[in-house]
Amino acid sequence: MKQKWIMASAIIIGLFILAQLFSLGAQDDIKNGNVAVIPVQGTIVATGESGVFQDSVVSSDEVLELIDKATRDPRIKAIVFEINSPGGSAVASDEVGQAIKAIDLPTVAHIREVGASGGYWIASTTDYIVANRMSMTGSIGVIASFLDFSGFIERYNVSYERFVSGEYKDLGTPFRKVTNEERDIFQEKLDMIHDYFIQEVYENRHLSKDDESYELITSGSFFLGVEAYNLGLVDELGGQVQVQEHLAQVLGEEAVFVRFETEKSLFDILSGDVRISLIPQSPLLLQ
């Protein structure tokens, strides 16, 4: 019995010393760098909704938290937003955009594959945009849609009993046809968001609305990186090297990247590659 106690004590002391040694060896966890890289990848939503049956999403909550952490870190002298997003919620894009504008440090957007619509809105709020020449960007427009099931339920002899207090309370219900008046209301809202979007981009990019490219830029069309460069929507064509060179020039020292990311849970990792989109999301999307 006494021998067991001695052995147990020896193991505890030994393991504690090992933990101390491990702790010193784990110093590499704290990465050193002066430029924070914050990924904006996937459909932009307001709150995290990622799951097995959904596309990859990025929530504005998540990005705002990472921005907050990066700006509070005294070692960080600039922030790069690595954008690979087709857009998403107008509100979420605006939230991220406003947060980026409030940053006192130099900011750069690096558009890799896609930085369209809401993704471009976010990019436009940074000081400098670098995009791959074949990337997809622009798409300054607003989309809203829903499926009309009225014909379907009629066919199966199901009727929609409408009880509303307020004429437009069930605007957008998929169980009846949209009236022309309701269509106008929807269009009006979309146009308003579109105007905000255009205003933001033109202000952020210091573009003139009198320019002949106005119609083209605001048409909702997407542009390849090279086209966007010619239209003044991006500042430089290239990738990480160009971002690093630009920041070295701005900071007057070498730019060393450190990624700021949200830790993934085991479930996220396991479900990461099998996400498929089944359900249409928010009706007002910058996509």
Binding site: K4, G14, L15, F16, S23, G25, A26, I30, L66, D73
Partner: protein, 143 residues
């Protein structure tokens, strides 16, 4: 002397129930992570608070937990949690069998998959897969 021996003979053991084993595991995990592994656990919480990747620290903490289980099971016969819940190991208890029995705690692929498989096996067979392979049983003194 004779009395002692007869008392020993009267000890009745049976395979430890899932609930006792879970309780013992939780106690051990608390001791291994929060007491013995305190320097690493502190580093882990610091790293996460600053939003840095803590993959190395997490892996080291898991390895430390693995060593805790292996060394205690082999050289003491039971971990602290097992001693509290009156669980002991019967059957093969060599260093290699202790190693194999606890290798689900090693945080590297494909061994880390065992952390999902083992509880399922325990619920189904009342014995973990690695216990079957090492021909050992977790028993509990009931009387």
């Amino acid at each position: 002397m004779q009395k002692k021996e007869s008392a020993k003979k009267k000890k009745q053991v049976q395979p430890a129930s899932v609930w006792f084993r879970l309780l013992s595991f939780v106690i051990d995990l608390f001791i291994a992570v929060n007491i013995i592994g305190w320097p690493l656990a502190k580093r882990l919480s610091d790293s996460l608070a600053e939003n840095f990747h803590a993959t190395t620290t997490t892996a080291l903490l898991a390895l430390l937990t693995f060593f805790y289980f292996v060394l205690f099971e082999r050289f003491v016969g039971a971990t602290i949690g097992m001693a509290i819940t009156k669980i002991s190991i019967s059957g093969q208890n060599t260093l290699s069998s202790a190693f194999l029995r606890n290798c689900y705690l090693i945080p590297f692929f494909p061994l880390n998959l065992l952390i999902l498989i083992e509880p399922i096996a325990l619920l189904g067979w009342k014995k973990r897969l690695l216990e079957r392979w090492t021909d050992s049983t977790y028993e509990r003194v009931v009387a």
